[in-house]
Symmetry: C2
Subunit: 338 residues, 2 copies
């Protein structure tokens, strides 16, 4: 095994001090008046020996790791994995690496992961904040750690975040169903304090109220897919007059579709369907399912823009930024009207 090349090795071979070599490598040669000749000699040897600085030593010394922690409920959900991928791309362009984690809906696990992030000295945190972490995150923000939330926000916490217009887009989707003649529209969501879910619900309620219809709401526990399927089935068996359903998130929609299959419900023939979050399976349904699509690219773009400006300290004193992006309603066969 080839011995790792050290800064010292370079310095020795060139009869220079470690300092000089370090300055050159870190692009601080000019500020330190190092001669062009010296610069060239260093860079040449660095290239020749393929010198790679030890990032652990650098991090220990500088306190920076060039790592950003990314925490969501479940990285395998398409919305989160899509964001993850885009963020990863943008981060690598800037020399940052993302540490991905899923809390799998366990507050305990989420706290542990946050601890691991701190442990690993991540430079920044990007999170769709898991439930129960409100206090933890408050403490974190107080330490001036760069934190950017997305998907949801904490109402009484002043942080930077990027979300979409949950209320408005759900209201629009509900209105779309109403316009197409549906009168008994159910809203299936989870039993949660998460702000984005509350906003989606209120968007639905607003449209229902504006049209003087009756709300029909099912809240299922957030956790267990089998249980959710059962809850949806029971609900639909009871609410015979229901002619349309809005699922408040992709995983809820999946469970709903699973319930339909088990019950032999045909989308559209029996029931109109709209999903919050768009994902490919919806296009493969028969008929394809109408969905509210979140603008992944714009979300990721905004998250990274804020994060990078925080990391570069460009806006130490700027107040925090809240970005609210619009969502798109992709209308498909499942809601095409009676």
């Amino acid at each position: 095994m080839k011995k790792k090349v050290l800064l010292k090795d370079i310095a020795n071979q060139l009869n220079m001090s470690i300092t000089t070599v370090s300055f050159v490598i870190n692009g601080k040669a000019k500020e330190n008046n190092i001669s062009d000749a010296s610069i060239k000699r260093v860079l040449d040897l660095v290239a020749e020996l393929d010198y790679q600085p030890n990032s652990l030593a650098q991090s220990l010394r500088t306190g920076k790791t060039k790592i950003i922690g990314f925490l969501v409920d479940d990285i395998s959900e398409p919305f989160f994995s899509g964001i993850a991928r885009l963020i990863d791309e943008k981060a690598s362009e800037k020399g940052y690496k993302i540490l991905f984690s899923s809390s799998r809906n366990s507050t305990q696990k989420a706290i542990e992961l946050l601890q691991i992030f701190r442990d690993r000295h991540v430079d920044g945190y990007i999170m769709a904040l898991p439930e129960g972490l409100e206090e933890e995150i408050k403490k974190l923000v107080q330490t001036d750690a760069p934190v950017v939330l997305f998907d949801r926000y904490v109402p009484d916490l002043k942080t930077d975040y990027v979300i979409i217009d949950n209320q408005g887009s759900t209201e629009k989707a509900t209105q779309h169903l109403i316009d197409n003649g549906y009168k008994n529209i159910a809203f299936v969501t989870i039993d949660t304090e998460q702000q984005q879910m509350i906003d989606r619900l209120s968007g639905y309620e607003l449209a229902i109220k504006n049209n003087k219809l009756n709300p029909l709401i099912l809240k299922i526990p957030y956790q267990n897919s089998l249980d959710s399927i059962k809850k949806v089935s029971e609900f639909l068996s009871t609410e015979k007059e229901c002619d349309a359903v809005i699922f408040a998130a992709n995983y809820i929609c999946m469970d709903g579709l699973r319930a339909f299959r088990q019950m032999g419900i045909n989308i559209f023939d029996d029931l109109a369907v709209v999903s919050f979050d768009d994902f490919e399976l919806l296009e493969f349904c028969n008929p394809p399912v109408t969905a509210i699509a979140q603008p992944l690219e714009a979300i990721a773009e905004n998250i990274m823009k804020i994060m990078l400006s925080k990391l570069n300290g460009t806006n130490k004193n700027t107040s925090s930024r809240q970005i609210v992006l619009p969502a798109i309603l992709n209308i498909r066969g499942s809601s095409r009207g009676k």
Copy 2:
């Protein structure tokens, strides 16, 4: 911001040496004959101050980071994200953290990621080896770095790996179609040197040959989904007599299904379908699609077992292990016979 507690702080407060405190914290108290009283005092104060050792310093000193690098083509493919999740669970149980990365089918990017892994001093590497990394990985293995491959292997490289019986399971799936009366069975795969794809193809060819049928093979470039869809469409337009298709991997199957939709082909009525890799969308197709399912849990289990034994140095001199696991054929409506 609360100042970080250091080892020195603990030692000072207890009037002990740093050495003693360190021994206690690292569970080496007994071997170093430290008194029970001292042990208790240290542990109590550690708990009280919530002391967290600086992992960067530990890593720099010990050369271990407790991080395992995980590299695949695309972490958002269900097969890979499923493995990723299971491995992550098993790793955290043992105090390891996984660094996830996707090479997105770029050899260049894959080499960079490997470089990042080295840079970050990961303790081990778990990879579905991207194409073009054969030489890189050889060098890596020569340095005695713990490497476990999965999904595919490099024929002339002696490493530990965990794969499934690609040839046998594809042969069985092909035979299943033949048994159900299909005579013109196409095999759609990618144009690649990846060993697992070669094995799947040869399993198909074996069954075809054993039954004296004619092979019908389409190789599409690995990269572009739109292009793949077009290639599949053209192929099916030409090969009118084709009555069944086997897709050699989940992403190929997705593109195939997309092509079907565009062409108005009905699964089963027009064409029997079998997918290598099972994923939920297949169950939602009408009729549901037969698939060869890889045993995710067993794969992840074996990968981690090998990796951990390597990390613990339990089997420094043991020869490398090759694990070949069986796959399961989930028979559904798409291949139920003519």
